[in-house]
């Protein structure tokens, strides 16, 4: 990990990887979306609304993965003082917040015809909404702290403490009686028929690649902004 502590070395790798991730992400997402909208059959119980699953699940996965990344980067920032850790954490936040919002919005749109309500204060929905608010708080805190200098500790501590919400989201459907269905997909088994499930790996991988590209773009922007600030400071001092 410390090999990439040098921003110049990181940028040399990040530039081509960004283009690759964008290309792969667009192709895989397009295959998954066309499959989910036009090629898979409707569900025998939910009808056409089952198609929403193929964007809702990747959004939930990326919303939670984003904060996992923030927690790991925050730990690296506090323990090893890795120079790119803070940059990575700040770059993850807007992408994670966007996908947490998409997860909430698509879930709500699915809930209206399926449950008969746009919103329910149950464990899964509420803990996901809390995650979205945590992202908003993290972005505000990290922006304020960045202006004061690179040695701030509040944002990484907030990033670590906020990770407590991740197991709450995951286990909420087991711990409480919720309107949200239980786990239907795991690494080893699924209760969804293969005819309905096949577009999901495409949208999962496709949106994950696009998420990765956005994070790299934001990291590159942050590093360029830091370079400009350093040069202006040096010019002012001369």
């Amino acid at each position: 990990m410390h090999r990439f502590a040098n921003p110049a070395r990181f940028l040399k790798i990040a530039r081509p990887v960004t283009s690759w991730l964008l290309g792969i992400g667009f192709v895989l997402s397009a295959i998954g979306i066309v499959g989910a909208l036009f090629l898979m059959p409707p569900d025998y119980l939910q009808g056409q609304t089952a198609r929403i699953l193929h964007i809702h699940v990747p959004a939930a996965w990326l919303g939670m993965s984003g904060w996992t990344g923030i927690a790991v980067a925050s730990a690296a920032q506090i323990i090893w003082r890795h120079p790119l850790a803070g940059v990575a954490a700040r770059a993850l936040a807007p992408a994670g917040a966007t996908f947490a919002f998409i997860c909430l919005a698509t879930g709500s749109i699915w809930g209206r015809p399926t449950w008969g309500t746009w919103w329910e204060w149950d464990g899964r929905l509420t803990s996901m909404l809390v995650l979205f608010f945590l992202y908003c708080g993290y972005m505000a805190l990290a922006a304020a702290e960045k202006e004061r200098g690179p040695d701030g500790r509040a944002a990484p501590v907030f990033g670590l403490v906020g990770a407590v919400n991740l197991p709450i989201i995951h286990y909420s459907v087991q711990w409480w009686n919720t309107l949200h269905q239980g786990e239907s997909i795991s690494l080893t088994k699924t209760t969804i028929a293969p005819e309905l499930l096949w577009p999901l790996p495409f949208t999962l991988l496709g949106f994950s690649a696009l998420f990765g590209a956005v994070v790299l773009l934001r990291m590159r922007a942050e590093l360029a902004e830091a370079k400009v600030e350093a040069r202006l400071r040096r010019a002012a001092a001369e």
Partner: protein
């Protein structure tokens, strides 16, 4: 209640949000890197 209305609304939110995020990230990166190149160039 036409279920397709909900399906297209959900996809519009997801694709619009993702496209907006990518567009913003691309624009902000290009702007910042162009500025860094401009300032780094000798006057």
């Amino acid at each position: 209640m036409n279920q397709w209305t909900f399906v297209f609304a959900a996809y519009a939110v997801a694709l619009g949000g993702t496209a907006g995020l990518i567009g913003w990230a691309l624009a902000s990166c290009r702007r910042a890197e162009d500025r860094a190149t401009r300032i780094g160039r000798p006057q």
